[in-house]
């Protein structure tokens, strides 16, 4: 059976949910960040599917931008994590709770 739009969207949705699951579950900041990237990738998949099945280029172009922004974001985010590590010597989120009331 030729996979239709719904199949691709389903895959994208499941990937997104798994990524979110990872964000909720893991305590290592870096792994949480990777799961965030996974969520982002899921959305790119959905966008490309839409773009293909509706015959327009807009979705793909948007994916282009998403990849660009994700790359920039990862760079900055990791720099922040490294700076945080220098201060607190840890990357476990349950030890990064200075803003606790």
């Amino acid at each position: 059976m030729q996979p239709g739009l719904q199949a691709y969207l389903t895959v994208a949705g499941i990937l997104f949910a798994i990524g979110f699951f990872g964000v909720l579950l893991r305590k290592n900041t870096l792994v949480i960040y990777m799961c965030l990237e996974l969520m982002l990738t899921a959305t790119t998949l959905a966008l490309v599917a839409f773009s293909r099945f509706y015959g327009t280029m807009d979705g793909a172009l948007f994916v282009f931008f998403i990849i660009t922004v994700a790359a920039a974001e990862v760079a900055v985010g990791l720099a922040i994590i490294v700076a945080l590590y220098r201060r607190r010597r840890t990357v476990q989120v349950d030890e990064l709770n200075y803003l606790k009331h």
Partner: protein
């Protein structure tokens, strides 16, 4: 230049001067003084030019400024003969007093401030003079009150000056409360606040004045007059206002501002019902007599002159109450001349004696300050209403009018006649006392012994105004010249205000056949007073004769009948208690609603929400998810 533009220039020049002084010249006192004096003389010249080029027709110019619903607030000029007279008086007297101030305030460090205040006062006063509707008049009325507040507190480092300026402003405000109620009711009842329009309405339908609303409006409008012109019961501020520099006392509290109330009454005379006029008459006459008496109980030269002013304001009020607003304006003009001279003379004396104000430390100044003495003498004689001096024409007219009221309108009005005659007696008494103690005899203090005449800046205004105190009244003798443009020393357009009334009054008195008797009694009372005063006071070396011989009486007069003390007691005990109660209530309300109410609520919410900050990223993510689900549910419902 046509008249409206000329009037705008006259009105706005002092404002410009005040702004320039306030922004740039506060430290440069001499430049400020020069600017202010220059502007003053320019205004005087422009006013004279306006008067001579005026064709005699009343001018109404109006310009809408703000609009609220169907009420339009406008600014404009209403120029008729009354305006002309008042404009002449204000601009003329003010210019000479400004020149005097240059000499008087020569070594004062707040000169810039002072001349800025004088300029803003000129602007405000001219606004009152030229205003064409009651609201505009009220705006400038308040501005004049503000200028007075500013200038009385010139020596702001002394407590006395600060308290006096506050007192002046607050007491004025009390009167203005009634005033504004009157204006609002006037607009509601007659549909307009424009003076010319009101005049036409009343002229078309004189019966309107009989309604209760009209009577009430008259009384309320009178409240403004009571506050500004220091009538009973709000006269307590004028004597304390002497805390300001002497030129201020001369200009504001003798010649112009306090006379603004009388001018106002003359402008709205057609709105005043007989009941209001009755009240004005009696309270004015009573004030004349009482203030004249109190002047005998003062030893401060300025306070004596202040009570004298109160007395003369009483005369003006009596004239209005008797139904002769034109005579009141006449007396206003004459009074401005000689009272300004008296105050300027007092200023010269004070300056010469190094700021000594107690008359029992002066004496023998006749030889040392001849110019001042001469001017003071002329003005005092005018004050007492000696024939041919300016004051006599107006003051005697008022006394004559009082007699006529008794003669024609019921014997009870002879009481008014008696009061004003008594006032004339007192005037003679205190004038002679003042002149004698200050200028005659020997010097009683160190400063007086070394006094000398001050410079020309102070002498020239004295000469000019002194001469006018002698001659200003000659206008009524019918000496017209310059092709009818001048009557005596007053432009005809201004003199016309009172010439007719003067003629009519004297014709009425002639008709009663008692004219000669009335005049004789007037003169006799004055001469008797002068003689009695000379005998009683002069040559008495141990201080004030009255104080020594009748100390209780002196004390009553000195305390001004305990008016001030009554008010002080009321404010301290009744008013203050009320304020304290209100304050406590206010605090309670706010504590309750804001402190426990909204404040407490905010605090509670805050402490609840604070608990959400657990520091765990995962918790935040769950909250985030919850939010997303909420949004989603909202979006797809």
């Amino acid at each position: 230049m046509d008249l409206p533009k000329l009037l705008s220039l006259i009105l706005l020049l002092p404002l410009g001067s005040a702004v320039v002084i306030a922004l740039f010249l506060r430290r440069k006192g001499n430049v400020a003084a020069a600017l202010s004096v220059l502007v003053g003389f320019v205004i005087m010249a422009l006013s004279l030019y306006a008067l001579f080029s005026w064709n005699g027709q009343p001018l109404e110019v109006s310009h809408e400024w703000l609009r609220f619903g169907n009420y339009a607030m406008s600014m404009g000029y209403y120029f008729n003969n009354q305006t002309a007279l008042m404009l002449l008086v204000v601009s003329f007297v003010a210019s000479w007093i400004q020149l005097f101030s240059v000499g008087y305030m020569a070594d004062d460090e707040g000169k810039g401030r002072f001349f800025g205040g004088l300029s803003i006062f000129m602007f405000s006063m001219l606004g009152i003079v030229l205003a064409d509707n009651l609201v505009m008049l009220f705006v400038f009325w308040e501005l004049v009150g503000f200028s007075s507040y500013l200038l009385i507190a010139h020596y702001f480092k002394t407590d006395f000056a600060n308290m006096a300026s506050k007192k002046a402003f607050i007491v004025n405000r009390v009167g203005d409360f009634g005033f504004i109620l009157g204006i609002v009711w006037c607009w509601d009842h007659y549909g307009t606040v424009n003076l010319a329009a009101l005049g036409k309405i009343i002229a078309a339908n004189p019966g309107l004045l009989g309604t209760h609303a009209a009577v009430a409006i008259g009384f309320l409008l009178m409240c403004g007059f009571v506050g500004k012109s220091a009538q009973f019961p709000l006269q307590v501020w004028l004597t304390d206002a002497m805390a300001g520099p002497t030129p201020v006392s001369a200009l504001i509290h003798a010649a112009t501002m306090v006379a603004a109330g009388v001018y106002f009454l003359a402008r709205v005379f057609f709105l005043l019902s007989p009941a209001t006029l009755h009240w004005i008459m009696w309270s004015g006459a009573a004030m004349t007599a009482f203030a004249g008496l109190c002047a005998l109980g003062q030893t401060d030269i300025k306070k004596i002159l202040a009570y004298s002013t109160l007395s003369h304001l009483g005369y003006m009020a009596t004239a209005v109450g008797l139904g002769y607003p034109e005579i009141a304006m006449f007396h206003l003009a004459m009074h401005a001349c000689f009272k300004a001279t008296l105050f300027l003379g007092a200023g010269s004396v004070i300056h010469g004696c190094h700021h000594e104000q107690d008359i029992y430390k002066m004496g023998g100044l006749l030889k040392k300050m001849p110019v001042t003495a001469a001017a003071f003498l002329l003005a005092s004689l005018a004050n007492c209403a000696i024939p041919f001096f300016s004051g006599s024409y107006s003051k005697d007219s008022i006394i004559t009018a009082a007699f006529l009221a008794g003669h024609d309108h019921g014997a009870i009005n002879y009481g008014v006649y008696g009061l004003v005659l008594f006032g004339a007696l007192c005037t003679a008494l205190y004038s002679a006392r003042l002149f004698g103690v200050v200028f005659l005899g020997t010097a009683r203090g160190e400063d007086a012994a070394h006094a000398h005449e001050s410079g020309p800046a102070m002498a020239i205004p004295l000469i000019v105004l002194g001469f006018l105190s002698l001659s200003a009244g000659w206008a009524v003798q019918g000496w017209t010249w310059a092709g009818g443009a001048m009557s005596g020393l007053i432009p005809t357009h201004c003199a016309v205000v009172f010439l007719d009334a003067f003629e009519k009054l004297h014709a009425s008195v002639e008709a009663t056949g008692a004219a000669f008797a009335v005049e004789a009694i007037n003169l006799g009372v004055v001469l008797a007073g002068l003689a009695a005063s000379i005998i009683f006071y002069l040559g008495f070396e141990k201080g004030d004769a009255l104080a020594v011989k009748a100390p209780r009486l002196f004390h009553v007069l000195e305390r001004h009948g305990w008016f001030d003390d009554v008010y002080d007691w009321y404010i301290a005990h009744v008013q203050q208690r009320l304020c304290d109660i209100l304050g406590a209530l206010d605090l309670l309300v706010f504590k309750f609603t804001a402190g426990w109410g909204s404040g407490g609520l905010a605090g509670l919410t805050g402490s609840l929400l604070r608990r959400a900050q657990v520091g765990s990223i995962h918790a935040y993510v769950y909250w985030f998810l919850a939010g997303v689900i909420l949004f989603w549910a909202f979006a797809v419902r």
